[in-house]
């Protein structure tokens, strides 16, 4: 366990915690990007170059921006008066803690049989590309269809229904 891993893990977890704890929604979104960046660095630390850069491109470049836009469009940057946590926050926290306990327990239980350091896998981007259009071509096509339908679906969901809206305004 290298020192780099501990730093990155701390950064990621701190980012995640901040994203879930901060009061200001935009700050939460920015903390989320920190968590994303930390995860990307963890990926790089795991020698998954492609996945790491894809993580940055997709999550920081697109998802984070999307979240930020959504926050601004829903006026979510103003902290509400009634508090940011739901009424049953204690139950939620307890359950999350239970989940962590179970997961952690499971990991520690099986820590003995988990593999130790292995050789760095020599995987080039070209191999990933060949696998994507070779063995994994069907999932790739399905993801392409999914993305297209998600694009159309998101547009249809979020589209401004002009007629109805104008009527409301006139009232």
């Amino acid at each position: 366990m290298s020192i780099v891993f501990y730093i990155l893990a701390a950064l990621t977890v701190a980012g995640g915690l901040a994203a879930m704890l901060l009061r200001n929604t935009v700050h939460c979104a920015l903390a989320l990007t920190v968590a994303f960046a930390g995860l990307a660095l963890l990926f790089l630390n795991l020698d998954a170059q492609f996945a790491g850069f894809a993580q940055i491109l997709v999550y920081i470049g697109a998802v984070a921006i999307l979240v930020v836009f959504a926050i601004l469009l829903t006026r979510g940057s103003e902290t509400p008066k009634e508090g940011v946590y739901s009424r049953s926050w204690l139950a939620g926290l307890a359950i999350a803690a239970a989940v962590f306990a179970v997961l952690g327990w499971a990991v520690l239980q099986s820590a003995r049989v988990l593999p130790h350091e292995t050789a760095v896998p020599a995987v080039t981007v070209q191999q990933i590309g060949v696998a994507l259009v070779g063995r994994y071509v069907l999932p790739l096509e399905i993801v392409a269809v999914l993305l297209t339908s998600a694009l159309i679906g998101a547009v249809i969901i979020a589209i401004h229904e002009k007629v109805g809206h104008e009527k409301e305004e006139h009232k």
Binding site: M1, F5, A9, T12, V13, G16, A19, C28, A29, L32, A35, F36, L39, L42, F43, D47, F50, A51, A54, V58, Y59, A62, V63, V67, L73, T74, R75, P80, E82, G83, V84, Y85, S86, W89, G92, L93, I95, A96, A97, V99, F100, L103, G104, V107, L114, E117, T118, P121, V123, I128, A131, L132, P139, L140, L147, A150, L151, A154, I157, A158
Partner: protein, 103 residues
């Protein structure tokens, strides 16, 4: 502790943080953020298992993670679109106030 166990623990922690956020926050967008965090924790697991698994050259975990990233992007787009539409409709993104199934 083996490196894999370390990564798995970090992923578990991140997952729990995401879950806690999704369970406790009022704002729908932040619930979505929590879910994104959970997804990312799963990705970290996938990549870690790929790296320390017996057959990294098969690329299975890596592919899983890449597809998961793509699907998560779609999920975020649709989810946020829904949130925006809900906001337009109910003038709020507070999940505690959105407990009616009738529009």
């Amino acid at each position: 502790m083996t490196p894999l166990a370390g990564y798995l623990l970090v992923a578990a922690l991140l997952f729990s943080i995401g879950l806690a956020g999704a369970l406790t926050r009022r704002n729908a967008i932040l619930v979505l953020i929590g879910i994104e965090l959970m997804l990312n924790a799963a990705n970290l697991n996938l990549i870690a298992f790929w790296r320390y698994g017996p057959h990294p050259e098969a690329l299975t975990g890596m592919m899983f993670a890449i597809f998961s990233i793509a699907v998560a992007a779609a999920e975020a787009a649709v989810g946020l679109g829904l949130v925006i539409q809900i906001h337009r409709h109910a003038k709020t993104t507070d999940l505690d106030q959105m407990n009616r199934m009738k529009g």
